[in-house]
């Protein structure tokens, strides 16, 4: 089983993540250490890694490709942005830009309650579960799968983008929401807050990895992989795959929303461009590059692709799309399982002398 064989790399990656989290915590307390900029970059990468994990859960372990995960990511992003704006407004009295643009005197009714963080989190979960639940139930019940499902999810995120581009929805329209000032009463731009957000993101990433790992090594995880490999057989054996798929789909949506909640406070803006079908496709590319069906693969893919993107969008923005498409073609044709292929290949070479003695007799016996 995939999950078993990648045990050591998994522990290594979790160890690295925990180390980074420790480093961030130290930097927050001590005068030296990571700069705020670097910490912010690490925090954003961690949020993307969580997002990649959410897609890997549904694509890598259940074989369902969603091209609409940007929708759930944005739900988390929008609700946290609403919390930040409402919180800033309640403490400092700063009126959000979009209210001034629209000439509205007060917040629309559905903004009430967003001043409390707990309410915002609950609202995120509720909205995400509602949308993913209804859409998932309707799609899986009629056994819409494969390419059909991917295309319909893409249309879903596209329609959501069109909707959010409207200025009269009360979510900031095409300008989105920005100008956050406070987070739990602390100024959001201070070094301490930036590093704390990054540290939280990295810790959440580690916890998500461990959580996914626990889920996958349970009986439930076994069922997921069984459904991916042969759904018909699993159904014949008497398992309700509709419920299974629906549960994983909703869980995946929740994790994506969590990633959005981590991401938006760190970049300081959310706008409907986050809902562009291109971003949702990019998430699939991160997972494919890293290696779908491996938790470590998703994390490494997200970090790697986004690190290159951060670097290139500043250094040579014109080249980035070409690099990205080249990367996809390479992954699709040369490393069908992503960088995991490369890693296995390398590990075998470097550990050849030790491994051969241990593993060869076993191979012979089998």
């Amino acid at each position: 089983m995939n999950a078993m064989s990648s045990d050591r790399p998994f522990l290594a990656v979790v160890a690295v993540i925990v180390a980074i989290a420790a480093l961030l915590c130290m930097s927050a307390v001590l005068p030296f250490g990571l700069s705020a900029y670097l910490a912010n970059t690490i925090g954003q990468l961690a949020a993307f890694a969580v997002l990649a994990l959410s897609l890997d859960l549904i694509w890598g372990y259940l074989g369902i490709l969603s091209l609409g995960h940007g929708l759930f990511f944005s739900i988390g992003g929008y609700t946290i942005a609403m919390y930040l704006l409402k919180h800033s407004f309640e403490v400092t009295g700063k009126v959000p830009d979009f209210l001034q643009f629209m000439g509205w005197a007060s917040f629309p009714f559905y903004w009430s309650g967003f001043g409390f963080f707990g309410y915002a989190v609950l609202a995120t979960a509720a909205v995400t579960l509602l949308i993913s639940g209804i859409f998932g139930y309707v799609s899986f019940r009629s056994r819409v799968g494969g390419v059909y499902f991917s295309i319909v999810t893409q249309a879903l995120v596209y329609v959501a983008m069109l909707l959010m581009f409207r200025n009269d929805t009360g979510f900031g329209g095409n300008n989105g929401m920005t100008g956050f000032t406070l987070l739990f009463g602390f100024p959001i731009g201070s070094k301490g807050a930036v590093i704390a957000m990054a540290a939280v993101s990295v810790i959440v990433l580690a916890l998500t990895m461990l959580g996914c790992r626990l889920l996958l090594s349970s009986r439930f995880g076994m069922l997921m992989i069984a459904a991916r490999d042969d759904e018909t057989r699993l159904r014949t054996l008497g398992y309700d795959t509709l419920l299974l798929k629906l549960a994983v789909w909703c869980l995946s949506a929740l994790v994506a929303a969590l990633a959005g909640m981590l991401y938006v406070p760190q970049v300081g803006i959310i706008n409907p461009r986050l809902l562009a079908p291109d971003l949702s496709l990019e998430i699939a590319v991160w997972v494919a590059v890293g290696g779908r069906g491996h938790l470590t693969g998703a994390v490494i893919g997200a970090v790697l692709v986004n690190a290159i993107k951060f670097w290139l969008s500043a250094a040579a923005p014109d080249i980035w799309p070409f690099i990205l498409s080249g990367l996809i073609v390479m992954v699709v044709f040369v490393f069908p399982n992503g960088l995991i292929d490369l890693a296995k290949f390398k590990l075998q070479r470097t550990m050849l002398s030790r491994n051969r003695i241990l593993s060869e007799p076993r191979e012979v016996r089998r």
Binding site: L65, V138, S142, A284, P321
Partner: protein, 538 residues
């Protein structure tokens, strides 16, 4: 003899002119007095000029035009003895047109805004009757058109009588209808109302609607009946026209959707691959069309107008070849991994968009609008049968017939259908499955390219254009199902019409949301699409 007769004629003519000249001079002096009076009398003078334009003799109209122009240009000075107009050779008397200097303190009358507008109308009316220049007459008609209902109908009747240019004559006749509404003769007004109601547009309604406040509406039952039935007829016409326009717009949107989706459906049916780069083939088609246009501009400028037709084979071949190359290089490795093929084709789309962006830039391309797709045919109400939309519809119908013929009547089509139904069995009986895939992909890409050609003259062409169609055309494929062309046709028509129906009520975004929800709901009922071929689920 002839000399004598001519001499008598000349004398008689001179006598007539002289005798009428006296009365005319009085009239002229009266007008000048009004022009030199206060604002109210100046308004009377302007209305007088309009009346002159309607029924005055040609001499009188020339004189009135001169005075009106002088007044507008502030070249007229009033004095104790009437008025003096500044002329190129020096000042002349306004009435007698003899040279004289202004007496004592001359003042130049000042027009207020209301009178200026009136005088402009008078000038236009005089120009319509008297100007030798067709352009000036046309411009004058434009000015008069806006207030036709306040002008005397004789003005237009006389103008129609004198007009030599047939096109302008027809235009004057159209404007005259509005003027006839103003006739003192109720019978004439009623016939004018009926004539206007013959062309039921919103403009006609705007002319008829105010008549309900007319005194005759209350007093004359015939007039009342005429106005009411005309209003009803016009409203009916507008409703029919709007309905037709909606259907027509939906048809043209559907035909573009169909052209974008048919290639997608063929490829999906055959190989189970959704080509996310389909929109970029539309974009490539439009760019190739532009290149053909530019090539013609340099090589054979006389054929420039026909670039849309000349480009058809070029666009099809170029996009088909690009599709075949793509299939042979990339997609053939992905038939067993349809989800990965989504990513791979997206990579292709990203690559193509950016390649075009780097090569051509992001600005919209400029297309010549050839004569055969300019303008349109007004049908009923405000519905105009525009040729550019008709071009797209006709093009889609031709494409549909041609594709149907290829799929149904050619050996390639037979092979495509066989491979779509059962790939393994088709391979077993000796059909070259690989080359069928390749050619079908070329066919699909070529059809998308043709969609780009049809879009080129009616849509903004830039590297991003394909993105706007691709999701809609996926929806067509999902809704229509694979295996039959009928599914694609019906789905394209349905989505096109629903979009156009909902758009004016709730807006374009709501239309997209509702269409998507309808499709998701529909998939509950028929998960394989509208016209899916019955068989085992793969």
């Amino acid at each position: 003899m002839s000399y004598v007769r001519t001499a008598i004629g000349v004398v008689l003519a001179a006598l007539v002119v002289a005798s009428s000249g006296g009365a005319r001079a009085d009239q002229r002096a009266d007008m000048i007095a009004k022009v030199c009076g206060d604002a109210a009398t100046m308004g009377d003078a302007a209305r007088g000029f309009i009346r002159t334009a309607a029924d005055g003799s040609s001499d009188e109209r020339v004189w009135a035009a001169q005075i009106a122009t002088a007044l507008m240009d502030r070249k007229l000075s009033c004095d104790a003895d009437g008025a003096v107009a500044a002329n190129a050779d020096g000042p002349i008397d306004a009435v007698t047109r003899a040279k004289r200097q202004p007496l004592g303190e001359a003042r130049s009358p000042l027009l207020n805004l209301r009178n200026r507008a009136l005088l402009e109308t008078a000038q236009a009316a005089l120009a319509l009757r008297g100007s030798q220049d067709l352009g000036r007459r046309t411009a004058a008609l434009r000015t008069l058109e806006r207030q036709a209902s306040s002008l005397p109908e004789q003005l237009f009747e006389a103008a129609i009588h004198d007009e030599t240019d047939p096109a302008l004559k027809a235009q004057i006749a159209a404007v005259a209808q509005a003027a006839a509404l103003n006739s003192p003769d109720v019978a004439k007004r009623i016939s004018a109302i009926q004539r206007i109601a013959d062309v039921p547009t919103r403009r006609a309604l705007a002319l008829i609607a105010p008549l309900t406040k007319d005194p005759a509406y209350a007093s004359n039952p015939d007039f009342l009946r005429a106005v009411d039935s005309a209003t009803a007829a016009i409203n009916r016409g507008i409703t029919i026209g709007d309905t037709l326009a909606t259907i027509y717009n939906g048809l043209s949107f559907a035909s573009i959707l169909f052209m974008a989706a048919i290639g997608l459906a063929v490829i999906f049916g055959l190989m189970g691959i959704i080509n996310l780069a389909q929109g970029e083939f539309i974009m490539l088609g439009a760019y190739v069309t532009w290149l053909v246009q530019e090539a013609l501009r340099h090589i054979a400028p006389t054929l420039l107008d026909w670039y849309l037709l000349i480009a058809i084979p070029v666009v099809f071949l170029v996009t088909a070849v690009i599709g075949i190359v793509l299939e042979a290089a990339l997609l053939r490795h992905l038939y067993r991994r349809p989800l990965m093929s989504l990513l791979a084709t997206w990579a292709v789309s990203l690559f193509l968009i950016n390649l075009i962006r780097v090569t051509f830039g992001t600005q919209n391309l400029q297309f010549v609008t050839p004569f055969y797709i300019t303008g349109g045919l007004p049908v009923i109400g405000d519905f105009i049968f525009t040729w550019n939309r008709m071009f797209a519809i006709a093009f889609a119908i031709v494409t549909l017939v041609a594709t149907w013929a290829v799929v149904r009547l050619t050996p390639l089509g037979l092979n495509i259908r066989a491979v779509t139904q059962n790939r393994t069995m088709a391979g077993c009986i000796g059909i070259p499955v690989r080359s069928v895939d390749m050619l079908a992909f070329g066919l699909g890409s070529g059809l998308a390219g043709l969609a780009g050609l049809a879009l080129a003259p009616i849509y903004s062409v830039n590297p991003q254009m394909g993105q706007n169609f691709v999701i809609d055309s996926f929806m067509v494929v999902v809704l229509g199902g694979v295996g039959t062309m009928a599914g694609t046709v019906v789905a394209a028509l349905g989505i096109g019409q629903v979009n156009v129906l909902i758009e004016p009520i709730w807006g374009a975004v709501a239309a997209k949301v509702i269409v998507l929800l309808m499709i998701i709901g529909f998939l509950q009922w028929r998960p394989e699409g509208l016209f899916a071929v019955k068989g085992r689920r793969k």
